[in-house]
């Protein structure tokens, strides 16, 4: 091995505090020129905060970033960019009707006199950035016509067009097929070969193991481990990211197998844009976790059942009622309730708690044509007491905390008598202290006979709440974990695609 060159960019004891929560707690790491460094950790471990500190999007509470030994002015995106730090975000942010060249050079187009766009220079610069990825994409094509991978490459080329020294990739292979992902990784290797440092942030532990020379594992805002090549095997990474504690007993305490259980969800051979023949049977009183990386089909199945995404073939029955493809009204009428962590999909921000709670159940409070607000009020009072939400029902819902808004949504689906609850990362926007309360609500819903499908990016949550966890990859179910196999580390292992590493011998 060549002599280790020293790190040219370092973070020193970076700390970021959001209110009472430490998102980053003294994280120090250094990256050498041409190094591909992996950055892994569970959700909330501090990965994205660290990245944002580097790119200047976030001002750290304490600590420093050193570039060539000199401190980088923090919290100033333009300064980070000037020192050669760029980030390729996870989301596609391309302007589809514009050409590849225009997209690559977006925001720093070469200008001539009086702001004239220098077209030839624009195309040439875009071509240079693209060819450094060793991909051949016509710079004059409009981006909308390109396959997904090439759209992603356009975004990477945009970052490279700034001539970076450090390129940060955030989950770049999400929603790509394995072949495409491999092509993308090859481009990243080429990049590093030219001396650009790479910080590779990903949940795809298999890729991290193959690609990265060293891996930094974050946990609770701290650097939990730094592993060199050969040390960072999939198994080691899984265990460092999601530590199974002694208390993890593999899922919830077994409930009595009551005879009166009935099938609430019967999905057969459902296929759609991102689903390939998925079948699933869920009974009342059961919590089924759906695990999978972005684009794997776990969340897509949830959205398909609640009617937000259409399906092309197969059948979905909720409580014996067959659902039409892409009809949310159908799903709600059959007794499915969607409970998102993303509040922009759940609440009516300018409406009162009362209106938010009763919307799907208004028919219960309607006489002839009019809403009987007295009956509505007393019902809401009972519901709020049941979900332990201490708030005035006439209060605007957006003045409540995230956790309390979530409780109001739980109350909404209790009110409508939903039989199947579709939980989409239900604690995503909820502070640590309120999480257990939401979990308790979920438990009480199950106890009252509801069936629950739970999608979560938090493997601890999946393992803790589920009776069984169904694992998705590329639109299909690839595994089902239950009992002793259903620990956070095993769920993570299965999600990230190395089953044999993690399953306990049976």
């Amino acid at each position: 091995m060549a002599a280790e060159s020293p790190a040219w960019i370092e973070t020193v004891e970076l700390t970021k505090r959001y209110g009472g929560v430490l998102a980053l707690d003294g994280a120090s790491l250094g990256v050498r020129a041409g190094e591909i460094r992996g950055l892994v950790g569970a959700n909330g471990a501090g990965k994205s905060t660290l990245v944002k500190c580097l790119t200047g999007m976030v001002q750290p509470s304490a600590g420093a970033v050193l570039v060539d030994g000199r401190p980088l002015p923090l919290g100033r995106p333009a300064e980070s960019l000037r020192r050669g730090i760029v980030c390729v975000p996870q989301e596609l942010t391309v302007a589809p009707t514009m050409t590849v060249a225009e997209n690559v050079m977006l925001g720093h187009e070469p200008r001539g006199l009086l702001g004239r766009l220098r077209e030839r220079e624009l195309r040439r610069s875009a071509q240079v950035a693209l060819s450094s990825l060793s991909f051949d994409i016509p710079v004059q094509a409009s981006v909308a016509q390109l396959p997904l991978i090439e759209q992603r490459l356009v975004m990477i080329a945009r970052a490279l067009s700034y001539g970076p020294r450090l390129a940060i990739f955030d989950e770049p292979t999400a929603t790509l097929s394995p072949v495409e992902a491999e092509r993308l990784l090859e481009s990243i290797r080429t990049l590093a070969g030219r001396g650009v440092s790479v910080l590779y942030v990903s949940h795809q532990l298999g890729e991290v193991e193959d690609l990265c020379e060293a891996v930094t594992v974050l946990r609770d805002g701290r650097v939990a481990a730094e592993l060199g090549r050969g040390q960072s095997t999939h198994r080691v990474l899984v265990e460092l990211i999601a530590t199974d504690r002694a208390g993890d007993r593999g899922g919830r305490a077994a409930r009595d197998d009551r005879a009166d259980r009935e099938v609430v969800l019967d999905a057969r051979d459902v296929s759609g844009e991102r689903l390939r023949g998925v079948s699933m049977l869920v009974q009342s009183g059961e919590v089924v976790g759906l695990a999978g990386l972005a684009g794997s089909g776990a969340r897509e199945l949830l959205l398909t059942i609640c009617g937000a995404i259409p399906f092309a073939s197969g059948t979905i029955e909720v409580a014996g009622r067959r659902l039409r493809s892409g009809s949310t009204a159908d799903a709600v009428a059959a007794g499915a309730g969607f409970l998102p962590g993303d509040r922009s999909l759940g609440t009516f921000p300018n409406h009162s708690v009362r209106h938010n709670v009763t919307l799907p159940a208004l028919a219960q409070h309607t006489r002839v044509f009019f809403v009987d607000s007295r009956s509505e009020r007393s019902a809401v009072a009972t519901l709020l007491a049941r979900v332990a939400l201490l708030a005035d029902q006439e209060q605007t819902i957006s003045s409540l905390s995230g956790g309390n808004q979530q409780k109001a949504l739980v109350a909404r689906w209790i009110a409508s008598g939903a039989r199947l609850l579709l939980l989409d990362d239900p604690t995503a926007g909820v502070d640590v202290a309120t999480r257990p309360e939401i979990h308790a609500q979920i438990e009480s819903l199950v106890a009252s006979g509801a069936a629950i499908l739970l999608v979560s990016t938090d493997v601890d949550e999946l393992a803790k709440l589920s009776d069984r966890v169904v694992v998705f990859e590329r639109g299909s179910v690839t595994a089902e974990l239950r009992d002793v196999n259903m620990t956070p580390a095993r769920v993570l292992g299965a999600m990230t695609g190395r089953m044999h590493d993690v399953l306990a011998p049976t």
């Binding site: 009204a329 409406h351 919307l359 939400l389 309360e437």
Partner: protein, 336 residues
């Protein structure tokens, strides 16, 4: 733990009632429209006590503003669901032509003429609604197109002629007074009350407001978003048809493009009305009051012998001030 205190563990927080904060500023923001109306009334009454401050003038203002009231209330149903309708003026023109020509050329009675006018408005509204809800054309564009087509049909049929020969009972719609109050004013108030109750106290109203507030959440909650949208446009079309009846009965004739002048004042009134309650929410009562304020300003200024451009200037400034005050405080997002 401070996270609990901040994030609001249920046990820790008994949130403040937003309605409970009573500061002079909050009152001024909430009631600015009413305060402005009272101020305008007091100003013109003081300036022209013998002409402005009379029962006759009050009747005249209510009667004059009835057309605009009906239209403003109708578009409020559209604004509440977060859409726009630019067609109402043209649709009123078409409806007027349909109703009056039915009476003048086909000897139909007053009742039939009114029904045809209102029905024509509803059909145009249905066309806009279907285009917006199911074809997913942005309402701004869809209603511009429907309005243009409505105007074309109107002019093709009427050949830009003026129709007279209205039956006496039709003209009586504009001349009748009940307990000294003009019938047109009663009709306008009745429509406002109907829409007020519809949007406030029915399932439709609750659904419509949820669509306007967060359409994604409304869908996930099972609200039939498409049907709500179509209904809103049909409602606005109905009011455009009714407005045409009020215009033609008062004029005693049909004249081309009778509705086009009402579009902008109707929106001005609805936006003025949205300031009622301090939150920039479109509401029927606000739209109604907004129309009265605008009409009072123009009547008062005319009585003070000001040229008509002064009235337009003052109305524009009133609208800017009313909406800007709240927009600045809320950081934008009109109508949300």
């Amino acid at each position: 733990m401070s996270a609990a205190a901040e994030g609001g563990g249920a046990g820790a927080t008994v949130p403040l009632r937003r309605r409970g904060r009573i500061t002079p500023r909050a009152i001024a923001e909430r009631w600015s429209l009413v305060l402005a109306s009272v101020a305008a009334f007091a100003f013109f009454s003081a300036a022209r006590p013998s002409t402005f401050l009379t029962l006759d003038n009050a009747r005249a203002i209510l009667d004059d503003s009835s057309v605009l009231c009906v239209l403003a209330v109708g578009i409020t149903a559209i604004l509440v669901i977060g859409e726009f309708d630019l067609s109402i003026g043209f649709v009123a023109g078409l409806a007027g032509a349909a109703g009056v020509s039915a009476m003048a050329f086909h000897d139909l009675g007053t009742g039939a003429a009114v029904a045809i006018a209102i029905g024509a408005g509803a059909v145009a509204g249905l066309a806009s609604g279907l285009a917006v809800a199911y074809v997913r054309i942005p309402s701004f564009v869809a209603t511009l197109a429907v309005g243009s087509i409505a105007a074309a049909i109107e002019l093709a049929v009427t050949k830009t002629a003026i129709f007279e020969g209205l039956s006496p009972s039709y003209v009586q719609i504009a001349t009748t007074r009940i307990a000294t109050i003009p019938l047109r004013a009663i009709i306008a108030a009745g429509v406002a009350i109907l829409f007020l109750v519809l949007l406030r106290a029915t399932v439709y109203g609750r659904h419509a407001m949820s669509v306007g507030d967060n359409v994604a959440a409304a869908r996930f909650a099972g609200v039939p978003v498409e049907r709500i949208r179509v209904t809103a446009f049909v409602l606005a079309g109905l009011t455009a048809g009714l407005a045409a009846v009020l215009v033609t009965s008062s004029a005693g004739q049909y004249y081309p493009n009778l509705g086009t002048g009402y579009l902008l004042p109707a929106y001005a009134a609805a936006f003025l009305g949205a300031s009622l309650g301090g939150g920039l929410h479109f509401n029927v009562l606000g739209s109604y009051l907004g129309v009265l304020l605008l009409d009072m300003v123009s009547t008062g200024l005319t009585m003070m012998n000001q040229p008509s451009w002064v009235a337009a200037l003052v109305q524009g400034i009133v609208l800017l001030v009313a909406v800007a005050g709240i927009a600045i405080r809320r950081g934008g997002a009109i109508g949300r």
